[in-house]
């Protein structure tokens, strides 16, 4: 590796953290679903991609300004989450986790193919009011897009934490995830909880989409790429907890940037997967372990 100047170092660090926050955000979406239902939603990345396209359509075709686009996108996506839950997920409650995993893989394929048919396969650009000249601090130039990603992620995470920890719904969700039958007996509407969890998770995907869209070009395959990395993030962090997902995301975001820099852009993405495999060899339970072995 060549000598890195301090400026480049900080630059890479910030880019890494902002990308990492994105992975963390997407990971947050399916960790939430996993916590509530122990279902694994492999289509989370593709749901995010839909969010990005919806935002793009609202902005370019209907010419809405930024704030309405944000609100509408989140709303539309939350409804989309409800619809998905109602039509595809609810019949699968009580099926083995493997079946749900496969189901969401299939769902991802369908979403990607349909998006490709509707919006085409060429890359689209999405601009925001803060897509302006970067902030220059010495030799470091910081894009506002990146800073917004980091800021939003922090706010969203804190909000989510408070919501799950201190609201009635959060507690109900945890109860439903521990024991569906017992939760139903004490009067928790388990199906409703599952539905709202999906709603919430797709809304988070929408936020992630709104943040990713200005940062990268949008194309149907983006969800899959980001989605897989988000999974890696969640696993590195220790599946099944929110802070782990975020920490994992930031870890791989940084690694990706630095390896990419070292090899002149060639192996950044691959390094993420190598990191995952190494991690699984060394510490398979993730940085923050939550999953315990089955009790007999």
């Amino acid at each position: 590796m060549d000598f890195i100047s301090l400026g480049t170092f900080v630059q890479l660090l910030v880019t890494g953290i902002s990308h990492g926050c994105l992975y963390g955000l997407v990971a947050l979406g399916f960790v939430l679903i996993y916590k509530a239902t122990e279902m694994v939603n492999f289509a989370q990345g593709d749901i995010m991609m839909w969010g990005a396209f919806i935002a793009f359509t609202l902005a370019s075709t209907y010419g809405l300004s930024y704030i309405p686009v944000v609100i509408l996108t989140i709303f539309v996506m939350a409804m989309f989450g409800l619809l998905l839950e109602r039509t595809i997920i609810r019949p699968m409650i009580g099926e083995p986790p493997f079946a749900v995993l496969m189901l969401t893989i299939g769902l991802g394929f369908v979403l990607r193919a349909v998006a490709g048919m509707i919006w085409g396969h060429d890359e689209k650009e999405f601009d925001t009011p803060y897509s302006v000249d970067p902030l220059i601090l010495g030799e470091v130039s910081l894009d506002y897009e990146q800073l917004v990603v980091v800021g939003c992620t922090i706010v969203l995470c804190l909000g989510l934490y408070v919501f799950l920890r201190f609201t009635r719904f959060g507690v109900a969700m945890q109860a439903a995830s521990q024991n569906q039958l017992a939760a139903a007996y004490v009067g928790i509407p388990v199906k409703g909880v599952v539905a709202i969890t999906w709603c919430l998770s797709t809304a988070i995907a929408a936020v992630a989409a709104l943040l990713v869209a200005p940062l990268q070009l949008i194309y149907p395959g983006i969800g899959f790429v980001v989605g897989i990395k988000a999974f890696v993030a969640a696993i590195v962090g220790g599946f099944g907890n929110l802070s782990g997902a975020l920490i994992g995301g930031i870890c791989i975001g940084i690694v990706e940037q630095f390896v990419g820099y070292a090899f002149e852009g060639a192996y950044g993405e691959t390094s993420v997967y190598v990191l995952l495999l190494l991690m699984l060899f060394v510490r398979p339970q993730g940085l923050i372990a939550t999953i315990q072995r089955k009790k007999v």
């Binding site: 019949p91 079946a99 394929f109 369908v110 569906q180 899959f224 696993i235 939550t290 089955k294």
Partner: protein, 358 residues
Amino acid sequence: MRFVLKTNYAQDINLFLHNGQRFWYGLLIAALILAPFFLENFYIGELTYLFIWVIAGAGLMLLIGYTGLVSMGHAAFMAIGAYAHAVLFKLGVPFLPSLLMAALISGFLGAIIGVAALRMTGIYLAVATISFAFIIEKVISAWRPVTGGHRGFIVPEPVMFGVDFGSDLVFYFLCLVIVVVVMLLVMNLLRSPTGRAMVAVRDSEISAQAMGVNLVQTKTLAFTLSAAFTGLAGALYSHKIGMLFPENFTIFLSIKLLMLVVVGGLGSVHGIVFGAMFISILPQVIAIVRDFLPSWLAYRRGLEPLVFGAILLFFLMYEPLGLYGRWVKIRAYFTQFPLYRKSTFKRQKSYLRTERVH
């Protein structure tokens, strides 16, 4: 309905339950031997592809259907088999040994992943195998001196002892023999202690251990065998496609293989064949249906993945036992007519209880 009177323990051990089965399978083999003399070249080629899918499917079924370990990166093992064989063969290794070595190399890499997979289940494993597949794809495209990278790698014509295996007919019979051997190996394995150990691991790891099953050994072995079979299929595949590109072995191929085992019917040997038939016929069906679709839809990119994904959804939601499960139900309907009850095959749902702490 057929009742088999069992008079001897040996009867349960036999591969075929009764003479009727022996007759039908014999007939099938005979038909497959005679088929190429009556079929056009196109169909011989299609059947050969079918055999290759069956071999790959057998590998994946062993892993997913019988050991309960999900791999979403099996395209990587096909790629390893294909490239290993092509490269070795080009270097002058004779044809059949090169096929075997390709299977061994693939199996060896499978073992390594198997070791990594030891403490993983479900989602962990799925993501780990996807990552592995991405890494292999990258290695193939970056290792240009050996694999040719994106410029492709021309697979030499398979010739050994003066026999040209490249001709459609000879290659057909080669694949037929390999398919039969692989299926026999898999079926033998499943009726002996190793196969039972795999199923035990799938159904309850705790209990399997309490019965003396070595988890480490069983999972690693399952991965090794699975990768070896899939690698062998890849080696044969390399000759069928003639020119290898990294793009031949993407995630889409992995999903196709996954679909093979799910649509065929998890945990059944018949399912392998049904699933293989399904994924070889589906593209043809899509091609035919295309002609009837409105033009704005028909030639859009992504029609095939859309149909694949939708069918996967459909099967998981409505027929999780796959085509084989459907076949069993239809058979039961006719043999028990008019006493068939729909609830015979009612699925048990279980409600979630987690052992997590948080």
